[in-house]
């Protein structure tokens, strides 16, 4: 059986499983629809939250982003896990006690203001759509490989599947489907990693293998450092980037996590306040399973790619074009070449592909001596690394098919969760609560579907030319969440007197400052070519990249809110009593709509 058929069977089976579960556990009422996880064991709830949370960015993109940079991109690992600490300590238990369904609901009620609700809806839409662009970019890569089409065709197929999935099955937001998706994605991620760890280091656990000796007896990371520096690249384990930016980027991802509407939503509906605290922990258990494996996947893939390009070692001859065409071990290069996401060019016409850093001065001297004419592995999209990894390591066909299914599970479960957040923000928080309270149930559903379709269309068009690799785009969404929603929710709980004027002013300043900073470097509304400054470290303010700037904008959000509060009347007594009551667990009822 060829790989294509095998891919179709495995991906088809995984989809059949999700649809089967969705039909079996169909939600009957609105309250079930929102609170489907009530009565579900906290461990299963944690798995579902993990599936909701881990998207194409975590699964498809992150290890590749780490692999090509090394230590400096550990920021993604710390940032996307550390936010759960903030959720458990600062937000989840209080939002659960408050007992509403959506983030704009909380902000609108706590700040007793329709304006605050509308600003929260706008922030939510900007965050979620940016996030979906990243998902679409990642899902497009997965579809292009497994259906063997170009990356833009893959993206259009992905958007059609996401639309059907979100409107039909995913809309129900059923916890058990997400549990199944978690199982598929974690198995798909860890099995290849275990195989590769055994191949390279003889160690079963990739988390240990990363720090073990390879077959030559040298520690894997030391060996990798040596290979890379010999080719003019930066050492994998060393720190090269701007330290301030590294700290701010990590912090932006952390507080962004705690401000993400589709993550926060899950904690509104756990049975008890004490469960809200622990459920953040259970979610992190299942997230950590992937996040502690990811750095091993990245380092080992970089190691495998480098040694394959230099089969005789970096002082010997590079891999020949003939070997790439004929040797089975190099099939992955031919497979990925068809997607247009991997490319090479024999610039010096020697029949070999030299992979090295041609920007390094030392390497230019060596290149002149050895007759090289620039790096010949000309295109390597970071987002293909995880999906290509089993092929690079020569693993069996079913493992390769499994990783395609896992990548799609990750992208679909998160995209569906985000689209649900988008559609409920438009239909419930905006139309029903503000614009047209008398809207019929049917009209509300129609508005929900239309807003989903529009969101997917925008995300797909922008995903054709994404402003970065999937994980980088998603990081920008976190910068926006950090700047707008997190500070406001936090002040809503930790300040009894914060009033509506202060909250609205803070949110607007945070959101607008971060948006303008992002658009200056990646283009207005993410449209390629409309950026006013090139998106490079030299142009950034104090070397702070757009996503990291979310922290600066968040600080501005806090400052503006408190300055305005000092000039206006504090929140009325009944609101202060409300804040008092959400601080104690006793008396928590079930979550309710208006």
């Amino acid at each position: 059986m060829d790989q294509f058929t095998l891919n179709l069977i495995v991906v088809g089976l995984s989809f059949a499983l999700y649809i089967g579960i969705a039909i079996w556990a169909r939600a009957g009422s609105t309250s079930e629809f929102y609170a489907a996880n009530r009565g579900v064991h906290p461990v299963l709830n944690g798995m579902a939250t993990a599936a909701d949370w881990m998207s194409a960015a975590s699964f498809i993109s992150m290890a590749g982003i780490i692999a090509f940079v090394g230590y400096d991109n550990s920021t993604y690992l710390m940032g996307w896990t550390g936010g759960y600490v903030l959720l458990a300590l600062l937000l989840a238990p209080y939002l659960r006690k408050f007992g509403r369904f959506t983030v704009p609901d909380f902000i609108g009620d706590r700040f007793y203001s329709q304006t605050a609700r509308i600003v929260a809806v706008i922030a939510l839409l900007v965050i979620s759509i940016t996030y979906v662009i990243g998902q679409m970019a990642g899902a497009g890569v997965a579809f292009s490989r497994f259906l063997e089409v170009s990356s833009s065709t893959g993206l259009w197929i992905a958007s059609a599947v996401v639309f059907c999935y979100a409107v039909l099955g995913g809309m129900k937001g059923i916890t058990y489907t997400q549990v199944a998706q978690y199982c598929v994605l974690i198995i798909a991620y860890t099995i290849p990693a275990i195989f590769i760890s055994l191949q390279l280091t003889g160690t079963f656990l990739p988390q240990i293998g990363l720090f073990s000796a390879d077959n030559s007896g040298t520690p894997l990371l030391a060996h990798l450092d040596g290979l890379l520096t010999d080719l003019g690249f930066r050492a994998y384990t060393e720190h090269h980037s701007n330290t301030l930016d590294m700290v701010l980027f990590t912090l932006a991802l952390m507080i962004g996590t705690a401000g993400l509407p589709h993550v926060i939503i899950r904690f509104f509906t756990v049975p008890k306040v004490s469960d809200a605290r622990a459920s953040a922990g259970w979610a992190l258990v299942f997230i950590a399973l992937l996040y502690t494996v990811a750095p091993a996947v990245g380092a080992m893939a970089r190691y495998n790619i480098t040694t394959q390009m230099w089969p005789e070692g970096v002082t010997g001859e590079a891999v020949s074009l003939e070997t790439i065409q004929t040797d089975e071990q190099y099939n992955w290069m031919l497979n990925w070449q068809t997607t247009g996401l991997l490319g090479w060019e024999d610039k010096n016409g020697d029949g070999r592909i030299q992979y090295y850093n041609d920007a390094s001065a030392d390497m230019q001297a060596i290149a002149a001596e050895r007759g090289w004419n620039g790096n010949e592995l000309t295109n390597f999209n970071r987002d293909i690394l995880v999906l290509a990894n089993p092929e690079i390591a020569g693993l069996p066909g079913w493992v390769i098919a499994l990783i395609a299914a896992g990548g799609l599970a990750a992208a679909l479960s998160t995209a569906a969760g985000l689209l649900l957040a988008i559609s409920s923000a438009v239909s419930h928080d905006l139309i029903k609560s503000v614009l047209n309270p008398g809207i019929s149930e049917k009209g509300e559903m129609l508005a929900a579907r239309i807003s989903m379709a529009v969101a997917i269309l925008i995300a797909t068009l922008l995903g054709l030319n994404p402003p970065g690799f999937a994980a980088q785009v998603v990081a920008i969404a976190f910068g926006l969440a950090a700047a707008s929603l997190f500070p406001t929710i936090m002040m809503g709980i930790f300040s009894k007197t914060m009033n509506s004027t202060g909250a609205v002013a803070g949110m607007l300043v945070g959101l607008i400052v971060e948006m303008v900073y992002i658009f200056t470097y990646v283009g207005w509304f993410f449209i390629p070519g409309t950026n006013m400054l090139p998106n490079t470290a030299d142009n950034w303010l104090f070397g702070i990249q757009p996503a990291s700037f979310g922290v600066v904008a968040a600080i501005l959000n806090f400052i503006v809110a408190y300055v305005v509060l000092a000039m206006t009347k504090p929140a009325p007594a009944e609101i202060q009593d409300l804040v008092e009551s959400i601080r104690v667990p006793r008396g928590a009822g079930v979550a309710q709509s208006h």
Binding site: Y71, S74, L77, M78, T81, G82, Y84, V85, A88, L89, L90, P93, Q207, L210, F211, S212, A213, T218, P219, L220, L221, A222, H223, D225, T237, H239, T243, M246, V247, T250, L251, K272, V273, S274, R277, A278, A280, G281, L284, V285, A288, Y291, T292, P295, E580, R583, V584, P585, R586, G587, A588
Partner: protein, 85 residues
């Protein structure tokens, strides 16, 4: 619940949150990034302890922290009689 015990309960909570957040920051921003040069003398599998904290240790610390906070808060809830019955 009286105002006095309400503010004592909240103060106990804030104290616990502060302790946890200090550990949270030290494990990630501290040991993983800013203090890494100080840890460079402690080798871990071909690199140093700071690298391990940035890619493994911080995540494990976060896990322990959340469950620690949840357990301690449950205890504080019961002490102040504000736990859910």
């Amino acid at each position: 619940m009286s105002d006095k015990s309400a503010s004592a309960y909240w103060a106990a909570n804030i104290r616990l949150i502060t302790i946890c957040l200090v550990i949270w920051a030290v494990a990630s921003f501290g040991l993983g990034i800013l203090l890494r040069p100080l840890l460079s003398g402690i080798p871990v599998g071909g690199t140093d302890l700071g690298f391990w904290f940035a890619q493994q240790g911080s995540i494990l610390t976060f896990l322990v922290l959340i469950f620690f906070y949840a357990a301690r808060m449950n205890k504080i809830d019961r002490e102040f009689g504000v736990d859910e019955q």
